[in-house]
């Protein structure tokens, strides 16, 4: 019973203090919400790109670019040589078709208008059966020496490059997250330190009549937790609203590239709120740690 009442009192006390200065409280919570939403949103973007690049790096496709001067017979011959038993499909993209589809893109069309001859080669898109990437790469090396073959390009090549960019992005997002986390802790620390100083007299008297350190500390910890909780909730709202409006637009924009942007799952949103509350508690813990010991008389 005691256990419950002690905590209920502390909770009421913290709530009362949050509500007693609404402007300060609101601006703190908004700051918290934004500080959490920014790295979380950043991470979401990076994670979306990450999924794409994983898909590609597992893709078993290569493009075989032929010499400009090859004739249809040569093309067919190369196509046949490529059609090994582990190859699922060899598709020809005719250089005339390639140019036509390029011309449909207005911006590039301007450039192309100034060119008389089609600069594009025939391309053979070779898709291997699943898991046959090693064989496909070997085939690519061999095909490069064939007559009529100009260049070989693997999707997995640029996927690897993309991946290293994404890894960098992840590190940046993590650094942002860590930085904002430290910022949140420092902010809560300052705020609660001030509160402890303001309530110095009360703390002293409470200790004189038998308050334990945890009794003194509890309302401050709850204050930090509540503030963090509300900040986390606001961050969730920001992220949800942000992704509701931007995910479909982004998906349209990047549909060609095959990127689908995700939304955070309910669990991830929950974790975000918990982390936010924890950061508040950590700030409050540091703020109360030394001061309460000092008032220990």
């Amino acid at each position: 019973m005691n256990w419950f009442f002690l905590r209920l009192d502390a909770l009421k006390d913290s709530l009362k203090r949050l509500l007693s200065r609404p402007i300060v409280t609101i601006s703190n919570i908004v700051g918290l919400g934004i500080s959490i939403a920014i790295p979380a949103g950043l991470f979401l973007l990076v994670a979306s790109a990450d999924n794409l690049s994983r898909d590609i790096s597992e893709s078993t496709q290569m493009n075989v670019f032929l010499d400009l001067g090859v004739n249809d017979e040569q093309v067919n011959k190369i196509k046949q040589r490529l059609s090994l038993n582990y190859v699922k499909e060899v598709k020809l993209i005719d250089r005339d078709d390639a140019l036509k589809s390029l011309r449909e893109n207005n911006e590039i069309a301007v450039v192309l208008d100034n060119i008389d001859n089609n600069p594009l080669p025939h391309t053979l898109v070779v898709t291997a059966k699943e898991g046959k990437l090693v064989e496909l790469e070997a085939l690519g090396r061999e095909a490069k020496t064939w007559e009529g073959v100009d260049q070989i390009a693997f999707d997995s090549d640029w996927a690897r490059r993309l991946q290293s960019f994404i890894d960098l992005g992840k590190v940046v997002a993590l650094c942002f997250g860590a930085l904002f986390a430290v910022g949140i802790i420092a902010n809560t620390y300052n705020l609660i330190r001030l509160q402890v100083l303001n309530r110095r007299e009360e703390i002293e008297v409470a200790k004189l009549v038998g308050a334990t350190n945890s009794f003194i500390r509890r309302p401050f910890l709850y204050f930090g937790a509540l503030q963090g909780l509300f900040g986390g909730l606001l961050a969730v709202v920001i992220i949800e609203i942000g992704s509701r409006y931007s995910v479909s637009t982004l998906n349209e924009l990047f549909s060609q590239a095959g990127i689908t942007f995700q939304r955070l799952t309910v669990q991830e949103l929950g974790v975000l709120i918990i982390i936010s509350a924890l950061l508040g508690i950590i700030g409050a813990w540091f703020a109360t740690n030394r001061l309460i010991a000092i008032y220990n008389k």
Binding site: E201, V205, L208, V209
Partner: protein, 217 residues
């Protein structure tokens, strides 16, 4: 039963406030501690109540040496005492009621029980009608009685009162002494520090006098 053995206190800064105090106070006794200003009366009360720790010597309460208690046990020790502070230590950010309720809230009592006990304590000191006001609006004597109400609200076995009559006029002071006498009659051990000899007269209570930190009998 309270027993001190060669109790000494040197404050940080080097001032020797108490020297070799050995005394014994029985359960249910009423004792006065007298001496000039600066003699060490407050210091003695604080050592007995666990509000300060001695430089050397022991304080036994019911056979337990409280100077050996760990930091974390001190709060629970303090809950066994009622302390009337010389400087009152009232909180002016809350009502009379909430000042008295503080020790009970700290003990984690349910709200309804707290309200009952707070009103009983306020009734004993004659402040029941003032429970909603801020202590700022109380007179000096009323503030003194508020401090007494807070000291007795958790029904302590030992009451330590440091100059509870402060600068009150004699009639008022007599009132307050009578109040302590009443607590003592129901079995509470009462220790009162005072520099006012008039307060002690005619009570027949034991007096411990201190001079420059030493007991003079």
């Amino acid at each position: 039963m309270i027993k001190t053995e060669k109790l000494s206190k040197r404050y940080p800064g080097g001032f020797q406030a108490l020297k070799n105090i050995s005394l014994s106070i029985g359960s249910g006794e009423m004792v006065f501690v007298t001496g000039h200003s600066g003699a060490g009366k407050s210091t003695l009360l604080k050592l007995i109540g666990g509000l300060e720790s001695p430089t050397s010597g022991t304080v036994e309460i019911n056979g337990q040496d409280i100077t050996k208690l760990s930091q974390s046990a001190i709060p629970f020790l303090r809950r066994n005492f009622g302390f009337v502070f010389q400087d009152l230590k009232l909180l002016f950010d809350r009502s009379v009621f909430d000042n008295v309720a503080l020790p009970l809230i700290i003990s984690g009592l349910p709200r309804s029980e707290i309200a009952k006990r707070v009103r009983a304590a306020l009734d004993k000191v004659g402040l029941l009608q003032r429970e909603k006001v801020n202590p700022v609006s109380l007179s000096g004597g009323e503030q003194q009685r508020l401090c007494i109400a807070r000291a007795v609200v958790n029904k302590p076995a030992i009451l330590l009162a440091d100059e509870p009559t402060g600068n009150l006029d004699p009639a008022y002071a007599a009132d307050i002494v009578a109040m302590f006498k009443a607590f003592n009659r129901v079995g509470v051990t009462v220790i009162i520090a005072t520099h006012d000899p008039a307060m002690i007269e005619g009570l027949g209570a034991r007096t411990i006098s201190i001079e420059a930190g030493e007991m003079t009998l």
